[in-house]
Amino acid sequence: MSAASISLKQIVKRYGDFEVVHGVDLDIEPGEFVVFVGPSGCGKSTLLRMIAGLEPISGGTLLIDGQAMNEVPAAKRGIAMVFQSYALYPHMTVYQNLAFGLETARVPKSEIQPRVQRAAEILRIEPLLKRKPKQLSGGQRQRVAIGRAIVREPRIFLFDEPLSNLDAELRVQMRVEIAKLHNDLGNTMIYVTHDQVEAMTMADKIVVLSAGNIEQVGAPLELYNNPRNKFVAGFLGSPKMNFVEGTVKSLEGGAVVNVSGSEFRLRQALPNYKVDDKVTFGIRPEHIGLTEASGVKLADLRVDLVEQLGDTTMVYASTLRGQPLTIALEGQRHIAPGTMVPTYIDPNRYHVFGPDGLALT
């Protein structure tokens, strides 16, 4: 099984006159685990289906190992896909499901049996081979769906939200198994999800999509620490980044921004800004503290609600101007709702975004 590279050059998808994917460029190295992440309707599944050959490409070029694939039928692209609904053949046993693709490719029976057996061993579904899909649990069905992909020994694996139908516990378990599978097999894998936790934990490279465009591509922590824009900053991280409106008060000797009544000196320069311009101040909940040791003072906040999660205390608070902020504090902290608390932030870990949503560096 060899891994393949994938290259998307100005890929466009149109339904009639309606364009849903707008000239996407992306390079995927052989053996990479790439996650397409974005909200519903952002075009991530459409992009995946175009790579699979299940949707015609309206414009641009898809290259697999340097060869144009736009007109190559799905079956001849060396791709296997795992669907959100599993798409198992309900009338066939697990063995028949795994063997179907090989039988279609006229692989000799003597070869099919060991290949199915090996895939079953990898996924620990050997005792299920004689069962039909309806006799399996959700997790077992998902394993069979992955087994059906493995058995064909494809160059590329595509996963279309494969864990969405599983409960939370099983999702975590399968997430680990898929990551392990990637380590073991070393194939190129593209994984579509709307769950940023899946993206952060599984990917070598995350592709954040919004409204048919790529917002940012990069390693998970790179995107987390240096989001290119407000969308990426808000999409990655749970709980999501706090955004607070700020007004430029002074540009002399470094920009000073008024954030909810408190004046805050930025580390960023604002060369094209003038006094009274608006900026958005972004700070992750885990980078806000209630003591001076946490950094520089941001503002005094009124505590609205406190959630005890055991290892973390979530504080939902608001500024004097009513802007909500979430604070994630380590450990179990006892804070009464209604009290005013001072907040401090790490001066190296906040973000500032301009009116166009782009991060100011």
Binding site: A75, F83, A87, F100, G101, T104
Partner: protein, 315 residues
């Protein structure tokens, strides 16, 4: 009649006697039963009573003019030992069912597959193809069919255009039954609509998975579509088989009620009708009806028994 209440076993001793079962039923559900009354009258008066009376009559001699006379199993014995027309009508009906049902189902499935390809104007095509089923069993269409397939009918005129001398479809015993089979197949609309609904139920991603695995159209049809459609095939086969056994109007109109030529269109129901209303042998006709019921029940039973080997139910 006095009935104990449901919770009587745990009632404390000395408790007052509960109202009777019937008075309780009436108090709780009386108006509901009143609304159901017309249906009850129809069901018992027009369905159950005739069924039971026909069962009784099948053991009698009854000419509708004199009171029925009990003859025991005589009607049934005569049917199986001394009635060539019974066997002839059975042969004609079995042939008709054996050919018309598979052909109709195959034709209906083929058209449903075509219509399922997401073409424009699908509702119009669906309505047009369904139309013959609405009209098909009517007397008017049977008359039209007789005209079409007459010696100098439209079919033979069409064949003459390409130099073929068509036979006398209806008056020649070699072809007459096949004319009726063709009429039955033409009424493919109803099973087609059901097939179409069944095809719509098959998830698209199963097809996509199969195409990603390299399966072509033919393999997808045999290995995916048809197996997943078997519940619908089974349903249609049962309904159409029963319809086939019950088929009467086309044979009656096309043969003028005789089952001719040479009893080649003597459907079982037509023979039954002749016995009942031409010869007034109501007892014998009742026995014929019960034998038909048993045959249809046996066919249905065998189909159900066999279904576990070839019908796939997802849940």
């Amino acid at each position: 009649m006095t009935a104990r209440s449901v919770g009587a076993a745990s009632d404390p001793p000395g408790r007052a006697v509960t109202p009777s079962f019937w008075s309780r039923i009436w108090t709780e559900n009386g108006p509901g039963y009143l609304f159901l009354l017309p249906w009850f009258i129809g069901f018992f008066g027009l369905t159950i009573a005739p069924i039971l009376s026909s069962l009784y009559l099948s053991f009698t001699n009854f000419d509708m003019l004199t009171p029925p006379q009990w003859v025991g199993m005589d009607n049934y014995v005569r049917m199986f030992t001394n009635d060539p027309k019974f066997y002839q009508s059975m042969r004609v009906t079995l042939l008709f069912v054996a050919f018309s049902v598979p052909l109709k189902l195959a034709f209906a499935l083929a058209v449903a597959l075509l219509l399922n390809r997401g073409m424009k104007g699908l509702p119009i095509y669906r309505a047009v193809f369904y139309l013959p089923s609405l009209l098909g069993a009517s007397v008017a269409i049977a008359v039209l069919w007789r005209t079409l397939f007459a010696g100098d009918g439209l079919v033979n005129q069409g064949l003459a255009l390409i130099g073929i001398q068509g036979p006398a479809w209806i008056s020649n015993p070699r072809y007459s039954l096949w004319t009726l089979v063709a009429l039955a197949v033409w009424q493919f609309g109803s099973p087609m609509i059901i097939f179409l609904a069944g095809l719509r139920q098959i998830p698209q991603d199963v097809y996509e998975a199969a195409s990603l695995e390299g399966a072509g159209r033919w393999r997808i049809f045999w290995k995916i579509t048809l197996p997943l459609l078997t519940p619908v095939v089974f349903f249609n086969a049962i309904i159409q088989t029963i319809e086939g056994f019950k088929s009467f109007t086309p044979a009656f109109i096309i043969s003028g009620g005789t089952g001719n030529p040479v009893n080649s269109t003597l459907f079982y129901t037509l023979y039954l009708y002749q016995e009942a209303f031409a010869f007034f042998r109501m007892g014998y006709a009742s026995a014929l009806a019960w034998v038909l019921l048993i045959i249809v029940a046996v066919f249905t039973g065998i189909s159900f028994l066999s279904s576990r080997y070839w019908v796939h139910y997802d849940n």
